[in-house]
């Protein structure tokens, strides 16, 4: 169990150096923004028979996650960091895209990665092989990263200001859409081998993302994948979504992605200054 937050989870901690995040973290546990409507809410039912009464709660089910996400978001903005939450079904090429991106940007930016997988440290090992810090979070039975575990991950990574942080979520097109991690943007990666109908089959994810990357374009000649139709479906679910097509393997289209990343980093710097 976590001594700082009492969260009962056996996750990675560094409680030895207290800093802003931990303080705020503790604070949010003690004084969460619950609304207790004690006066209006507690009217008794079936008087005389039982002690039953009504208690009004009026809380978002994900309120706790959202409070941690706000903490993370504040942490990022106080340090001028850009955090991106990469979501997709398993095997779309997230880790390959990251290693290829890091090789191209690591001399220009300070980069780190939080890797979420149910099991193994394989993806974090692949990232570390590029020479940047990576933290593996294994979710076990859980099928998504939550803001609390990412917050503790930030404590142990202890990144410099103006870092670019990629959070590779668990491969799953369903529930990571509901869990805000405090990121600036969700980026959904769809490989062309998955079929063009995914945006309407899994609309929540494409609705929540700001950018869609169509990956593995090198395979297009061997498939019937209809890119235009796929993009139309994505815009149907989310008219604001931006789209980039690339091949992490051959490097085709990578420049547009690097340009997008540099522009987003510049925005963080402006907001920070």
């Amino acid at each position: 169990m976590c001594g700082v937050c009492g969260c009962g989870e056996g996750h990675i901690h560094s409680h030895d150096e207290p800093h802003d995040h931990e303080h705020a973290h503790e604070h949010s546990h003690d004084h969460g923004h619950h609304h207790h409507h004690e006066h209006s809410a507690e009217h008794s039912h079936a008087p005389g028979l039982t002690q039953a009464r009504m208690v009004q709660i009026e809380q978002d089910i994900l309120a706790k996650n959202n409070r941690y996400a706000d903490e993370n978001r504040r942490y990022f903005s106080e340090r001028g960091m850009l955090a991106l939450n990469l979501v997709s079904s398993p095997g779309s090429g997230k880790t390959t895209l990251l290693t290829e991106t890091i090789l191209r940007l690591k001399d220009e930016l300070s980069i780190a990665v939080i890797e979420g997988d149910q099991q193994t440290a394989r993806d974090a090992d692949r990232i570390r092989a590029t020479g940047v810090p990576a933290l593996q979070i294994n979710t076990g039975k859980g099928c998504h990263l939550d803001a609390h575990r990412v917050g503790h991950g930030l404590e142990s990574l202890n990144l410099p200001e103006h870092s670019l942080l990629f959070i590779e979520n668990v491969g799953n097109l369903v529930c990571p859409s509901a869990f805000d991690l405090g990121e600036a943007h969700k980026v959904v990666i769809l490989s062309v081998t998955e079929g063009e109908d995914k945006p309407i089959k899994y609309p929540d994810m494409f609705h929540a993302a700001d950018l869609m990357i169509l990956n593995k374009t090198d395979l297009l000649p061997y498939l019937d994948f209809d890119s235009a139709q796929c993009i139309q479906y994505a815009k149907q679910v989310n008219p604001r979504i931006k789209v980039l097509s690339l091949s992490a393997k051959t490097g085709e289209g990578m420049d547009n992605w690097l340009t997008w990343l540099r522009a987003e980093m510049a925005l963080q710097r402006i907001a920070y200054a």
Binding site: E38, M54, V55, Q56, I57, K64, H144, D204, P239
Partner: protein
Amino acid sequence: MHEMSLCESVLQIIEQQAKAQQFAKVKTVWLEIGALSGVEADAMHFSFEVVMQGSLADQAKLEIIEVPGLAWCMPCGCEVLVQQLYDECPHCGSHQLQIVDGDQMRIKELEVE
């Protein structure tokens, strides 16, 4: 699986409230679930029973209040009912819709003793 972790969050909220509002047993839980929240009522009922086992809400009844999806159509400037995130405006066919209601998942009320 999604519904499972949502029910775990519901239980955490209930346990917190049990201390704050001094109750030991929960008989009924009312959730407000939007049609666009991505939550399946059936899966929610199933997960609820499993997750609440052995807790202060063991055997509690789950009542789901369904909230219809409501969006604001930018071209028309009016509010329209939607079933899915990829629906089009029934008036003008546009997809420039902004969700205004029906994406919530909230715990509303408890019957306790």
